[in-house]
């Protein structure tokens, strides 16, 4: 009694997307009893390689490709989201925990043995497999019959979403599953633009984990929030418990004299903008009113008028004391060099460097000059014999004025300069002494300014 499903691999919560929009898969076929039925239909067709089966709408879509076909991508299905914690008494819980607090495996709901019972699984009531569920609204939350005849049923102890994850600081890295606002409104999914259009597309904020409709803090607000499903209220904060002192705050590498990344860890005392305008104190609301008060952003160290980055901007900034200039970046603060220590030195442009340093200034190992992955080199030991391109040592086969370099083993970085510095006693020729002539061909032309701008003014 072989099932047609045996010919297929089951991937829950995923969907196959064809990247060429022009290619349409076959339409959905409604009223398909189950995945087996869908598998049977697919198996009978020569050009059917896979299928989507949607449990809740009981529909089947046959596909002529798999995730290994060109131009296809397997991705998380937007229609499938499982919350691992429970809201209220967990009647809606659809997770996959199948063991009780006493460690006993749960009995399948469709089985009447070893414990007989009155429940029958349907596509609607969620009594799948042997997962913990709460069909009788038990205030203690999801439970199951156990496989131990001596213990008929037992609770599963699944955490409430409110307690499953707490919030540190302003909750920028809260990744819990609360999806209600403080007034109890349900949150809008981040990947939807209705009822409220918004700029926070999950694909553009990958590091903010804007999953499903969970409360998040992608914009440096004082705590996690969400857009609501209530058309009359666009967005609202959520009630997320704060982590206790015992929860270790994530240690941001704080810096004092330079900044790393976006400078969120900068704790120095620079207090003017790059253009020299004095900064406004954070605890003042004049000349600029703002929401970044020290007490609401306690862990951002908004002391005095020091440059800080409380909201994930691209660098430390401050409100300025100039009424006409609300905020400005403090670019005068040096960026910390995250380069590795130079391990050797070179003269001139390094064309004669023959050392054995083989890593880039970021510490990435160099690719061997004689290999073609991950990058197809244009300079090889045979094409540039004089450069002595040995192994994966740093060299300068093209006379790059910035020194020895190599192809890197990072697929995203074709080449980079090496962990080398100019020798202290090196005296390179100055470009300022011998300016040479210049010849230009095309480019650098533009419509005469006056006539175009005047027409626009008029």
């Amino acid at each position: 009694q072989r099932s047609p499903l045996n010919d297929f691999q089951v991937l829950r919560g995923t969907e196959l997307q064809h990247l060429l929009h022009k290619v349409e898969p076959s339409p959905w076929q409604e009223d398909t009893a189950d995945a087996e039925e869908c598998a049977r239909r697919c198996g009978s067709l020569l050009d059917c390689r896979a299928f989507h089966y949607n449990v809740s709408s009981r529909s089947c879509q046959l596909l002529p490709w798999t995730q290994h076909s060109p131009q296809t991508r397997l991705q998380r299905s937007g229609g499938y989201y499982v919350r691992a914690c429970i809201m209220d008494n967990g009647v809606q819980y659809r997770g996959t925990v199948a063991v009780t607090t006493g460690g006993l495996p749960c009995q399948h709901w469709s089985h009447k043995f070893p414990n007989d019972h009155k429940y029958t699984p349907t596509p609607r009531n969620g009594l799948e497999e042997n997962f913990c569920r709460n069909p009788d609204k038990d205030p203690r939350g999801p439970w199951c019959y156990t496989t131990n005849s001596a213990v008929r049923f037992q609770s599963c102890g699944i955490k409430s979403c409110r307690d499953a994850a707490c919030m540190r600081c302003n909750g920028e890295d809260y990744r819990g599953a609360v999806d209600r606002t403080e007034s109890g409104r349900e949150c809008q999914r981040w990947d939807l633009q209705h009822p409220h259009p918004h700029p926070f597309e999950p694909g553009k904020f990958l590091d903010k984990h804007l999953d499903d409709n969970y409360c998040r803090n992608p914009d440096g607000s004082e705590r996690p929030w969400c857009y609501t499903t209530d058309p009359k209220l666009e967005r609202e904060f959520c009630n997320i418990p704060r982590c206790g002192p015992e929860a270790q705050p994530r240690h941001e590498a704080t810096t004092l004299s330079c900044f790393r990344g976006k400078g969120e860890g900068y704790r120095g005392t620079a207090n003017t903008t790059a253009a020299g305008v004095p900064c406004q104190r954070w605890d003042a609301q004049y000349p600029h009113q703002h929401r970044f008060t020290p007490e609401k952003y306690a862990c951002k160290d908004l002391r005095e008028n020091f440059c800080r980055n409380p909201d994930g901007s691209e660098a430390p900034w401050c409100f300025t004391t100039r009424p006409g200039m609300r905020m400005a970046f403090c670019y005068q603060i040096r960026r910390c060099q995250d380069n590795v220590q130079p391990e050797d030195c070179y003269y001139g442009t390094g064309e004669q460097y023959r050392g054995s340093v083989s890593k880039t200034r970021k510490g990435v190992p160099c690719q061997h000059w004689s290999t073609t992955t991950p990058h197809k080199p244009q300079f090889t030991p045979t094409s540039a014999p004089r450069a002595q391109l040995a192994e994966n040592f740093c060299r300068n086969p093209d006379g790059d004025s910035h020194g020895p370099w190599c192809y890197t083993t990072d697929p995203y970085t074709p080449f980079d300069y090496c962990a080398l510095k100019r020798c202290d006693d090196d005296r390179p020729p100055s470009i300022l002494e011998h300016p040479d002539q210049v010849l230009f061909e095309k480019c650098g032309k533009r419509v005469a300014r006056e006539n175009q701008w005047q027409s626009k003014l008029r």
Binding site: S313, M325, N339, S401, I431, P435
Partner: protein, 201 residues
């Protein structure tokens, strides 16, 4: 730009959505307005897909766009100088940007200002030898004229041999448009070969 005038600079790009990770950055071209309306004719919005860091200390990155832009009357190429080219002192240049005007101009449109190049030697007198070879200067005018917050990364374009050439990149200076004080830019010609190399490799 402080002390500038509205103008046209078809190679000046506006970098938007910088409050998101790189995957959200966009470049806007073909407009003179700081906040062009959606659907404005000529406006081109292209996402940035990759960033390549420049040589150490260059303060430069190269941005790869998701797709090529369309060149037209509003969007034009600017020349790159040959490697190591030194702009002769006295060369007429201009800066452009949508940044801070400090009340000296219309901050709703692209502003430009004309500046003249001075030698590093002359510039180092006021800057007490701190100007590097990979930097260049323009003279400080009596009136406050120069780049400011929001202009950084913009062009210092110079008219050389009948062409506009991208000779400098605006970087933050200690003070915006400080009268009688030379402004410092990154010297693009020190990085021309690097730019070509990145595109080639």
């Amino acid at each position: 730009v402080v002390g500038g005038q509205p103008g046209n600079s078809p190679w000046t790009v506006s970098l938007r959505n910088r409050h998101v990770p790189l995957t959200g950055y966009e470049v806007w071209l073909g407009t003179l307005f700081q906040n062009p309306q959606p659907g404005e004719p000529g406006l081109q919005q292209v996402p940035v897909v990759k960033m390549v860091c420049g040589p150490s200390g260059s303060q430069l990155v190269l941005l790869k766009l998701e797709r090529p832009v369309t060149l037209n009357q509003r969007v034009a190429l600017i020349c790159l100088p040959p490697e190591g080219y030194v702009v002769p002192p006295g060369t007429k240049c201009e800066i452009a940007g949508w940044g801070e005007t400090k009340g000296t101009g219309n901050n709703k449109v692209l502003n430009m200002a004309s500046l003249s190049v001075i030698s590093n030697q002359e510039c180092n007198i006021k800057h007490r030898g701190r100007v590097r070879e990979s930097e260049m200067c323009t003279e400080g005018l009596l009136a406050p004229v120069g780049a400011c917050e929001g202009d950084y990364g913009g062009p210092l374009a110079c008219f050389t041999h009948d062409c506009w050439v991208l000779e400098g990149i605006i970087i933050p200076n200690r003070v915006c448009a400080r009268p009688r004080w030379p402004a410092i830019f990154i010297r693009v010609s020190v990085f021309t070969n690097w730019i070509h190399k990145v595109m080639r490799l």
